[in-house]
């Protein structure tokens, strides 16, 4: 039941835009960069989907489910299961083949533009090239009380076998815990002369994490302008491609490891050349 996937993705602007409509034809073999979903035969395009519609069960509901499936590009679509939930709702399971082609060339993976460093390499880099320890501040903002994520990054214990940032000799880490208000955080960052502020957001209902992150970015811009610390946010439901949109320097998604974060900090905050 483990979730193997890692790393940061960016779907290209074009895909993020509106559906380009149906691709004509069916590529029976997935040559080179164009592929289709795989059921049991190359190119069959098979997918599974489930959803609930606010309509009572019956032929009309099934027709509505088929309509939605077709709009999603599933053609032909089979409603293989449906059952009513309470009055007025019907749950569906639909199988079928999607018309869409997946163009791998259009997928712009933000290749990590910095090397993965070991703790000792991180320490060495900071010591040699920054000539002082790096001040890192961590917190969960708003009413989010989920600290396990930020703790996994900061605490000695760490995550996925990697020690957390507190383990790094040259990093001066303070973990403010959960439910820290943005003003408190700005104040603390100023007081401690933080080089980087790490913020975790786990609750995403009604896009709380996006709103809170924008608020964070705004507050720091206002309070400190150019001299603001590096802003890093993370959480399981963030799309790492959204950093710019959100006004922060970097976004980490699910499965992030402390090493990735430390390496990024060095890349972003430690000059290439030793500071004279």
């Amino acid at each position: 039941m483990s979730d193997d996937s890692r790393g940061s993705i960016a779907a290209s602007a074009s895909e993020r835009g509106a559906d380009r409509g149906a691709e004509s034809g069916r590529s029976t073999v997935s040559e080179g960069s164009v592929v289709r979903p795989y059921g049991d035969t190359t190119g069959d395009g098979m997918v599974q989907t489930s959803f609930t519609l606010p309509v009572p069960p019956g032929p009309k509901a099934e027709g509505a489910a088929l309509q939605l499936a077709h709009k999603m590009g599933i053609e032909p679509a089979m409603v293989v299961h449906s059952h009513g939930i309470g009055e007025g709702f019907t749950f569906f399971v639909v199988y079928g083949s999607v018309r869409h082609l997946v163009d791998l060339d259009a997928v712009h993976v933000e290749e990590r533009p910095y090397p993965l460093l070991s703790p000792s390499e991180v320490n060495a880099a900071v010591k040699a090239r920054l000539r002082r320890s790096l001040v890192v501040l961590g917190a969960c903002i708003g009413t989010d009380a989920h600290t396990v994520g930020i703790d996994a990054i900061l605490n000695l214990k760490g995550f996925a076998g990697e020690k957390g940032l507190e383990y790094y000799r040259e990093l001066q880490v303070a973990n403010l815990g959960a439910q820290v208000s943005v003003p408190e955080l700005v104040h603390a960052a100023r007081a401690r002369k933080a080089d980087a502020v790490l913020v975790s957001q786990v609750v995403t209902q009604k896009d709380a994490h996006l709103r809170n992150t924008r608020e964070l970015a705004g507050a720091f811009r206002e309070a400190m302008g150019e001299s603001r610390p590096l802003l890093v946010v993370g959480g399981p439901r963030f799309d790492p491609a959204m950093a710019a949109e959100l006004g922060v320097d970097k976004v980490f998604g699910r499965g992030t490891t402390p090493g990735e974060v430390a390496s990024y900090l060095v890349h972003a905050l430690v000059p290439e050349e030793a500071t004279p």
Partner: protein
């Protein structure tokens, strides 16, 4: 199921140690009051509503009055003497009017020289509130008698969490029709840190719906309708823990809620609320629950989301014993103790299912008369909803095999979203299948004495006793243990956390009619 043979001597010792470890907490609670305890007392006396002029009109009158008293005379004697002194000395016809004066800034509070008249009046006012709570308890008993209890154990406990009471209601009713015996309305993420209770019907919560008296009323009424429709009394649950534990407990009693999440430590550990504040508040709130015939649910399950479920299994046992002794002290009976534990072992651990059975049987054996609250996997749920659905099925099976009392239904989307309507429906189908197909498998389930399960249960109990010894030996007992990060590997100092400035040591002559009436002795 044939339970385990626990070492009776070890069990006796465990309880004795727990009582010693909790003593400093009881002592603290008996010698202090809090703003929330005092506000709860005014609520019992019938003060409702908010100050329309202040802020956006969200500040309740009970807050305004208690703050005013605190400013003018302090809270060392509680609010009751100054408030009812003002009323008996005729400055205002009634509480509402007095509150208006507070709003207008014209109210003046003082401690009476002769406390008797104020005491009497206060006792009468608060008594009316308690009478309503008693009536609700009787009403519940009637309804259970008419509609009946769930046909079997465990009771099926389901959560709704849309943030909008008007979305919650149909979802709760659908869940009940689909088989839920207990509906819990989760609160908006921030509420437990609010130092007041919001008012009215609300539609804007995050990952949960605000706990308000009106929301309580609306949902209870909706569930009374389905109860009648289904011929089965459907219970309603909400959350007490937080800065307003005592007040929410009162509102729950006034609106006939049936269960409340109420843990002596949750707010401290997971909400960073000041330990003293929580200890004082939890005692008052539990006395109200005891009176209201409400079943409490404790939160040990939460520890296993931050700590490892195998390594820290004994801390759950220790916490259950502490919650038990504190609950008894507050007047709760065993049938009211929904002690928490959870199916949170990493499914990749070999024998994980049998380890869960061992832990669940241990709790069952230690608390034979408590309706244990059995929590589903959450920490190790992932976006693989198929694997999650399977894991929830085995959680349900463990519940049936080990005779749990309240089964909190797990959701396949645990790691993804707050439950969808369909998640809840699928989850109930899962429970129904497991209970109907294998619900009686416990007849064929016989963990061998000295076998894997028996040995595991015994070693967890032994670890628990050793930990309790360390805690009891410290003169600050539990308070120190929390500072040391014993539970959920989270450290909380007695002087830290939110709401600490709302705690007051009570002076000689302090008076709280609610405590008096509930304890039957004068405090």
């Amino acid at each position: 199921m044939s339970g385990l043979e626990l070492d009776g001597e070890l069990v006796r010792r465990a309880r004795e140690l727990a009582t010693r470890a909790a003593a400093p907490v009881v002592d603290l609670a008996r010698t202090h009051t809090t703003v929330s305890v005092e506000r709860a007392t005014l609520r019992l006396a019938g003060l409702t509503g908010t100050d329309p002029v202040l802020g956006d009109g969200e500040v309740p009158w009970v807050n305004r009055v208690v703050d005013a008293v605190q400013e003018q005379v302090g809270l060392a004697h509680g609010v009751s003497l100054p408030v009812w002194h003002a009323l008996t000395s005729g400055t205002a016809p009634d509480l509402a009017a007095l509150a208006e004066q507070v709003g207008a800034g014209t109210a003046r509070f003082a401690l009476p020289d002769d406390p008797e008249p104020a005491r009497e009046a206060a006792r009468a006012a608060v008594g009316a509130g308690l009478a309503r709570i008693d009536a609700n308890r009787a009403r519940r008993e009637d309804l259970v008698a008419t509609h009946g209890d769930p046909p079997r154990r465990p009771w099926i406990y389901l959560i709704v969490a849309t943030g909008d009471i008007y979305e919650d209601i149909p979802q709760a009713q659908a869940a009940a029709r689909a088989g839920a015996d207990v509906i819990a309305v989760i609160r908006s993420t921030g509420q437990s840190l609010l130092d007041y209770v919001p008012e009215g019907a609300t539609r804007t919560g995050y990952a949960g719906t605000y706990a308000t008296q009106e929301n309580f009323r609306l949902m209870r009424a909706a569930l009374d309708d389905v109860s009648a429709e289904l011929g089965r009394y459907v219970r309603l649950t909400n959350y007490a823990s937080g800065l307003c534990m005592p007040e929410i407990a009162v509102l729950a009693g006034l609106e006939r809620l049936d269960m409340m999440l109420n843990d002596a430590m949750y707010g401290i550990l997971f909400r960073d609320i000041n330990p003293r504040r929580t200890f004082v508040d939890q005692r008052f709130s539990r006395m109200v629950h005891a009176r209201a015939g409400i079943i409490i649910n404790t939160g040990e399950d939460n520890y296993l989301t931050t700590a490892d479920a195998v390594d820290e299994a004994h801390t759950v046992t220790v916490s259950q014993l502490l919650n038990e002794t504190l609950a008894h002290e507050a007047g709760l009976a065993d049938w009211q103790l929904g002690l928490g534990h959870a199916f949170e072992i990493d499914p990749a651990v070999p024998e994980s299912f049998r380890l869960e059975l061992a832990h669940a049987l241990l709790a069952r054996g230690l608390f034979p008369d408590a309706p244990l609250k059995w929590m589903p996997p959450t920490k190790h749920m992932t976006g693989d909803v198929f694997g999650g659905y399977l894991l929830d099925g085995f959680f349900n099976l463990a519940g049936a095999l080990t005779g749990q009392g309240i089964l909190l239904v797990g959701m396949m989307t645990e790691a993804v979203v707050t439950p969808w309507l369909s998640d809840r429906d699928l989850a109930l189908r899962n429970v129904r299948y497991v209970l109907s197909a294998a619900g009686n498998l416990h007849e064929d389930f016989a963990p061998r004495p000295g076998g894997f399960i028996d040995r595991r249960a015994h070693s967890v109990l032994t670890d628990a006793v050793q930990l309790l010894e360390r805690i009891a030996d410290h003169e600050q007992g539990l308070i120190q243990a929390i500072a040391d990060g014993t539970f959920g590997i989270t450290k909380r100092s007695p002087d830290g956390g939110k709401g600490r400035d709302g705690v007051f040591r009570t002076a000689a002559g302090a008076y709280n009619p609610a405590l008096e009436l509930m304890e039957g002795v004068r405090v």
